[in-house]
């Protein structure tokens, strides 16, 4: 990797892999690493965090600014989770933390100590797909596929939210438990934008997995 002399630690270099940034901390004995650290204008503060991702324990020393999204993608190489807007507007980065879907771009990794995180890779992999992944394939719930991991993580959590009785904007009566209907699914999935406009097929896929006539 060619790094210009005057930028001993580039952002790109740091982001090129968790191994690099972790090594820069732990391998202070290596002359190269020490030289790089000394030349840097000031090292950004770091913090340690330990969490489980897809049932695997990880411990990382991260620049405190690292979002959960960047920790997953750039440090753990779980690139299924996508960076769309990076501002919580598109939902491409949706992952499930302790059973709840969140925008991983709007959450600091260091705030997730002890958490159990599920990404699209943890739902299912080729050859062993989660029913929601299978349904998205069968119903063509995507075109380009970029928003799909977020859509699927969101959809899995949406069905759990309905099961748990969490109301939505279109739930007619707050005293009745919500049910799986197309209007409920469309409303609850509104935090996941699909630029290709595969929405109707996405709803078909979710309805299929829910096993209801909606």
């Amino acid at each position: 990797m060619a790094i210009p002399e005057e930028f001993p630690i580039s952002r790109r270099g740091l982001l090129a892999g968790g191994a690099v940034s972790v090594a820069a901390v732990s391998a202070a004995g290596s002359p190269d690493a020490r030289a790089a650290v000394e030349k840097a204008p000031s090292r950004p503060p770091t913090a340690r965090v330990a969490f489980h991702v897809n049932n695997t324990a990880h411990e990382l020393e991260l620049d405190t600014r690292t979002t959960l999204l960047d920790a997953l993608r750039e440090h753990l190489r779980l690139t299924g989770t996508k960076k769309g807007c990076d501002h919580g507007q598109c939902g491409a980065c949706t992952v499930i933390v302790d059973g709840r879907r969140i925008n991983s771009c709007l959450s600091l990794a260091v705030m997730h100590d002890g958490d159990k995180i599920t990404t699209i890779e943890g739902l299912g992999l080729p050859g062993n797909l989660h029913p929601m992944q299978q349904a998205f394939v069968e119903h063509d719930g995507y075109q380009c596929g970029y928003c799909t991991p977020g859509q699927i993580c969101s959809a899995v959590a949406v069905l759990e939210e309905i099961k748990a009785g969490i109301p939505s904007h279109v739930t007619a009566d707050l005293s009745d438990p919500p049910s799986v209907t197309r209007p409920e699914l469309r409303e609850r999935m509104s935090g996941n934008i699909c630029r290709c406009g595969a929405y109707s097929n996405i709803v078909d896929a979710i309805v299929d997995v829910a096993g209801v006539k909606a």
């Binding site: 879907r101 925008n103 709007l106 705030m111 469309r186």
Partner: protein, 316 residues
């Protein structure tokens, strides 16, 4: 994003003590607004105090028959709480009208009150903004002002408060409980919580530096029909152009607060008194002295018509 140091605390007292040690720090809980603003370097704290695990995550009765909502209760949990749905349906309705499922899973009750304006000039760091950079001017005045305030604004700022939940809380006479860096607690009526922009639009609440919200309280249930009607550019996942939060009794009396029109949820007690006479009379009292631009003048009739719709719906 500017770099920052980070610490996690276990108790409210530890949080305010940490602030006292590190002036310029910010508390972070859900982080869905703060982190967004930090990425844009609109917020540049040098130290973050993580208050997401200090407890304050319960919803419990108060001694006067009301309810106390812990500052850290997530928006999803508050909207879904059985007692909130039964007795304070307006709060549930307002919450589920806002943001997305993902954001509501993270966002907290206190953070919701403290979220900052969605004025595009506040977000655009190339533009002057007295709220972001005191004294730099206001690009919204004379700019694109379709979403901006029509009441309570000043020559320095015409931003609106974006919260839906706060509109419901205001209609229900909520109060905010806090603890300060000296360990002193106080209770602030939500009506007195937000500061008018005047010449200091960067000062948005009456909270002192390091003062932490511990709970939001609601008085005992008032019954009636609870309706939150939000008008927005999309059917879902968009901020309000205007919103009406109302509790209407059978005899036509009630409480109403309006969102999307000012720096805080807009509630005028005199307008409540006009509710039995209808939307026109109540809106006239609510928006008396409104100052509009050619781009946001539509909000005046929109509030009246939305309120008329709400009152008709309440009659059943």
């Amino acid at each position: 994003m500017k770099s920052f140091t980070y610490e996690r605390v276990d108790t409210p007292a530890a949080a305010t003590a940490a602030f006292a040690r590190t002036p310029g720090a910010r508390f972070i809980a859900g982080g869905t607004n703060l982190l967004d603003l930090m990425k844009l370097e609109i917020e540049t704290p040098g130290h973050l105090i993580d208050v997401s695990r200090i407890g304050l995550d319960r919803i419990e009765p108060t001694s006067d028959g009301g309810i106390r909502i812990g500052a850290m209760v997530r928006n999803t949990d508050l909207a879904a709480d059985a007692q909130i749905r039964r007795d304070y349906g307006l709060v549930s309705r307002a919450l589920v009208a806002g943001a997305s499922g993902q954001l509501r899973n993270k966002a907290t009750t206190a953070g919701n009150l403290l979220q900052r304006t969605r004025c595009p000039y506040f977000y655009d760091t190339n533009q002057p903004c007295n709220k972001r950079k005191p004294g730099s001017g206001c690009a919204a005045i004379g700019g694109f002002s379709r979403i901006h305030a029509i009441v309570g604004a000043s020559d320095a700022c015409i931003a609106t408060h974006p919260s839906d939940m706060a509109v419901a809380m205001q209609a229900l006479d909520a109060a905010v409980e806090t603890i300060d860096t000296a360990g002193k607690t106080r209770r602030i009526a939500l009506a007195d919580f937000y500061r008018a922009p005047a010449n200091t639009p960067h000062l948005e609440t009456v909270l002192a530096p390091g003062e932490l919200i511990t709970a939001v309280t609601l008085p005992k249930p008032v019954g009636g029909t609870h309706i939150y009607h939000k008008v927005r550019d999309r059917a879902s996942y968009a901020f309000a152009l205007i919103s009406v939060g109302a509790v209407v009794q059978r005899d036509g009396r009630g409480h109403v607060a309006i969102g999307g029109v000012g720096y805080k949820p807009w509630r005028i007690k005199a307008a409540d008194a006009e509710l039995p006479r209808g939307a026109k009379a109540a809106t006239a009292a609510l928006l008396a002295g409104a100052k509009t631009t050619h781009e946001n003048a539509y909000k005046l009739p929109l509030v009246e018509r939305t309120l008329a719709s709400v009152l008709a719906q309440a009659k059943g």
